[in-house]
């Protein structure tokens, strides 16, 4: 049984203790610099803030040991199950990478945000956890949250899409020289209509600059999971086809090498929708269909795209819904 006198004593001591603690508002009001942010003197021109986002984002922290461990667990514990559930990937051509040694550039076509995750989880060891992604600075690094997430999950570095960014190129080359492999989507952005876009010269330039091979990769089906303009993913089967690593020839310029990379990805696309031998024969006779699709009106491009599908849609809904 609790003594009434004891309770009163307790209440009074609690009250006394509360009276001793100043209210939070008073505490905040009392704080001064350096506990509070400084004010700028009236006569001083405030220093222009140094940009820390977009192409200026410093992602070095993402290659430090704690971030690498975190990324390992994120890739294997979160990204891989999600990709397995959404994309059900079939991976072809991994045997073509057996003789690779040292850093390489993985260049793939680009349809969807899911491409990077699919590609990273499809890479064989030791590349899977020793790779960085070149990501569009204006999209992935425009806010601190997106930039941090991109750097942590994809080990992404910002690449300027609209101008030639010397800083981005030097950073990428530095990382390749340090033994990191790179994932890049040479089209510079996701496909707007399911067909490919011309390859830009960045991958070829870096491969020549760093003297490393390029592995062409074709991703099929991701455009139907999360195409540009959609927010909700729809599970679909996907095929990831790795091509034979190619190197720049002696004295080859980056535009010529870039064209060869694009042709190699186009040949892989052909291989994914037909069969390897047919694709090789068309490649030999210069008849490989381009990634960009037919030059015609929008509906005919869509028509041609659906005609290229190797497998029928697997998620046809029954109607009426019984």
């Amino acid at each position: 049984m609790v003594d009434k006198k004891g309770l009163e004593k307790l209440a009074s001591s609690v009250q006394k203790a509360r009276a001793k603690v100043p209210p939070v508002r008073a505490l905040v009001a009392q704080t001064s610099f350096p506990y509070r942010a400084p004010t700028t003197p009236l006569t001083v021109e405030p220093k222009p803030e140094e940009p820390t986002l977009l192409g200026h984002y410093d992602s070095d922290w993402a290659r430090k040991l704690p971030a690498r461990y975190a990324r390992f667990f994120l890739t294997e514990g979160m990204v891989r199950p999600i990709i397995a559930g959404l994309a059900q990937p079939e991976r072809k051509g991994l045997d073509r990478l057996a003789d690779l040694d040292g850093p390489v550039i993985f260049a793939a076509n680009h349809h969807s945000h899911i491409d990077a995750g699919l590609l990273i989880t499809s890479l064989p060891e030791p590349y899977r956890h020793q790779v960085f992604a070149a990501a569009a600075a204006d999209y992935f690094f425009d806010t601190r949250v997106k930039a941090t997430a991109s750097a942590l999950v994809l080990n992404a570095i910002p690449i300027e899409r609209t101008k030639v960014g010397r800083r981005s190129a030097e950073q990428a080359a530095g990382l390749i020289d340090d033994g990191w492999s790179m994932i890049i989507f040479p089209e510079g952005g996701r496909s707007p209509d399911g067909w490919g876009q011309p390859f830009r010269g960045g991958a070829a330039y870096l491969a020549i600059k760093c003297g490393v091979p390029v592995v062409p990769i074709h991703l099929a089906g991701t455009g139907r999971i999360l195409p540009k303009g959609k927010n909700r993913p729809k599970p679909q089967r996907t095929v990831v086809t790795f091509g034979t690593p190619i190197r720049a020839n002696e004295g080859e310029r980056s535009q010529g090498f870039s064209d060869r990379i694009e042709a190699a990805v186009a040949a892989l696309a052909d291989e994914a929708t037909t069969d390897w031998y047919s694709a090789r024969r068309r490649a030999a006779s210069g008849e490989t269909p381009t990634l960009a699709g037919p030059e015609s009106g929008a509906w005919r491009r869509t028509w041609a795209l659906t005609a290229n599908r190797k497998k029928p849609r697997t998620t046809t809904k029954r109607w009426p819904d019984l």
């Binding site: 610099f33 350096p34 506990y35 942010a37 400084p38 003197p41 009236l42 006569t43 405030p46 220093k47």
Partner: protein, 530 residues
């Protein structure tokens, strides 16, 4: 593009200003509308390729033949270099002295020069330890020369190894290191951290004896050096220039190499980097680091704090390397120093404030004793001007420093006796000079410690006191905030607990509502007072 230094007029929006306070810091709010703060310039761009710049300087010297042409087989070559008092704080490896000396030695080796000596030009400073020598010249040079006894500290009290070269027209005796004097070529490698360094002073003081140094390290010279950071108005430099002429006339051929460094004292890494930032630009990260550093330092013992600060190595960038004849080289070097340090200031002030840091030229790897506090404040910081002193005649100087009653018994033995005996008697520089100097300068025990241990010369604390004699004569009062009261009183100054108390005390001397100027140093800033 680095921003130059500037003068901030303090208003109500000005945040508290960072004051150095020995191995700690204070944030002080200065009165609005009558205070100003002189901020140092940001670090100038460093040379892209230091090695190439050294080569260029040695191969294209000013008013002298290229160094390789001066090097011949069978010649006597001596390389002298600045001692541990430069730069402050010590620079990260590789030290610029090492890089220059290695380049000189490469050329000497190519020319087949066998007789090479390297001498730390320390005048009456303490001898450098092996670690300090290795830091300055690098392991490669140390291991090649020290074991043969060809790399050593200058000894200003060794009668067998000093050469008397003559007298100036003012009767100043010139006596320098015999090996340097008798060499076919003397190469002097300088680090000109401030405009006081270098020129003829390198050889005429750095390699001289007490007999020679006493002619310019005295009260009269210091009181007439206004300031000794402004060579053309410095009696100290005039005397050294006169001695330089005697040295040249005696046939000593000096190939002068002067180097300048930028203001990158604290680097980019927190928490030290915050010390170089302007307070209103402190980010949240800076503030958290600063608070952490402050709280951490408060909980540490004095010796631990000292150890941490003394371990700091500055990532200075080298801004120039100039070689050749002493005078043209020095004029070019001065310009590089002024480019980094000079800030134009309009008019004098009633009260000058300064936050004294943990280091001065004479307590590297040592203790900043009260005499060095006086020397740093009244000697060095007060003299960081060109034109007129920052504070008006009869004005007040307020310094922040803990001023502990502590001495390094090995490095500063004569300082202890000077503090206990001389300052207890008088603080007047002239009286001290006349009554006490000779006794300390010629004391056999101090001489022995200077020559064989790591002690500053017996006369050195006197020079520290003389160094501040111009300020002592000029000022109406000196107040130390946060200092040990007994030690401050022994120095002849007033002690205050807070800066506001100090301002109150200063008003007794300079009247009500005085103007206040704060010299925000380090990084180094020098006022060009109009």
């Amino acid at each position: 593009m680095p921003r130059p230094g500037f003068v901030l007029d303090v208003d109500k929006s000005t945040p508290p200003i960072l004051f150095h306070h020995g191995e700690g810091f204070r944030l002080e709010k200065l009165p609005a509308d009558r205070s100003r703060v002189i901020y140092p310039g940001e670090p100038l761009e460093a040379l892209d390729d230091v090695e190439q710049s050294i080569q260029d300087a040695l191969l294209h010297p000013l008013d002298m033949d290229p160094l390789p042409e001066l090097l011949k087989p069978g010649m006597k070559l001596t390389i002298a270099f600045d001692d541990v008092s430069l730069p402050l704080p010590p620079m990260k490896r590789p030290d610029i002295r090492q890089r220059v000396i290695e380049a000189v030695l490469d050329m000497a080796a190519a020319a087949g020069v066998d007789d090479v000596h390297l001498i730390a030009a320390l005048a009456l400073h303490r001898r450098m330890t092996e670690d300090e020598l290795r830091h300055a010249v690098g392991d490669r040079v140390y291991d090649a020369f020290a074991p043969q006894g060809a790399l050593y500290n200058h000894d200003a009290e060794d009668p067998d190894n000093l050469a008397f070269l003559g007298e100036t027209k003012h009767g100043e005796e010139v006596e320098i290191n015999k090996r340097a004097a008798e060499s076919d070529l003397l190469v002097y490698v300088n680090i000109n951290i401030v405009s006081m360094d270098g020129g003829h002073k390198s050889t005429a003081t750095g390699l001289a004896s007490y007999r020679a140094i006493k002619h310019h390290h005295n009260v009269h010279t210091m009181e007439h050096s206004k300031s000794f950071m402004d060579r053309h108005n410095s009696e100290l430099h005039h005397s050294n220039w006169r001695m330089g002429k005697v040295i040249a006339d005696a046939g000593v051929k000096v190939f002068q190499i002067e180097t300048t460094i930028n203001n990158d004292t604290f680097g980019d890494a927190l928490p030290m980097s915050v010390l170089a930032k302007r307070e209103w630009e402190w980010t949240a990260k800076d503030r958290v680091s600063f608070i952490g550093m402050q709280q951490g330092l408060k909980r540490l013992s004095g010796p631990t704090r000292r150890k941490i600060f003394q371990a700091h190595r500055a990532p200075y960038g080298v801004t120039s390397v100039t070689a050749g004849a002493i005078e043209p080289v020095h004029e070019k070097t001065l310009q590089h120093c002024f480019d980094q340090h000079l800030v134009e200031v309009e008019g004098q002030t009633d009260i000058l404030t300064m936050g004294l840091p943990y280091i001065c030229p004479y307590n590297v790897n040592s203790i900043m004793n009260p005499i060095l506090v006086m020397c740093l404040g009244l000697g060095y910081f007060f003299n960081m001007y060109r034109g007129k002193p920052l504070v008006r005649e009869g004005g007040v100087l307020i310094m922040t420093h803990p001023t502990p009653w502590e001495f390094h018994p090995v490095h500063h033995p004569s300082y202890i006796d000077f503090f206990e005996q001389v300052l207890a008697d008088t603080t007047d520089p002239t009286e001290i000079e006349q009554k006490w100097e000779k006794q300390f300068a010629e004391d056999e025990w101090y001489r022995h410690l200077y020559r064989t241990s790591y002690a500053y010369h017996g006369v050195h604390p006197f020079y520290m006191w003389y160094w501040g004699s111009h300020a002592l004569k000029h000022l109406g009062r000196v107040i130390i905030v946060g200092g040990d009261k007994r030690a401050v009183h022994r120095l002849g100054f007033k002690a205050a607990s807070t800066l506001n108390d100090a301002f109150e005390m200063a008003e007794d001397v300079v009247g009500r509502h005085p103007t206040i100027t704060h010299l925000k140093n380090p990084p180094i800033v020098m006022a060009d007072v109009k």
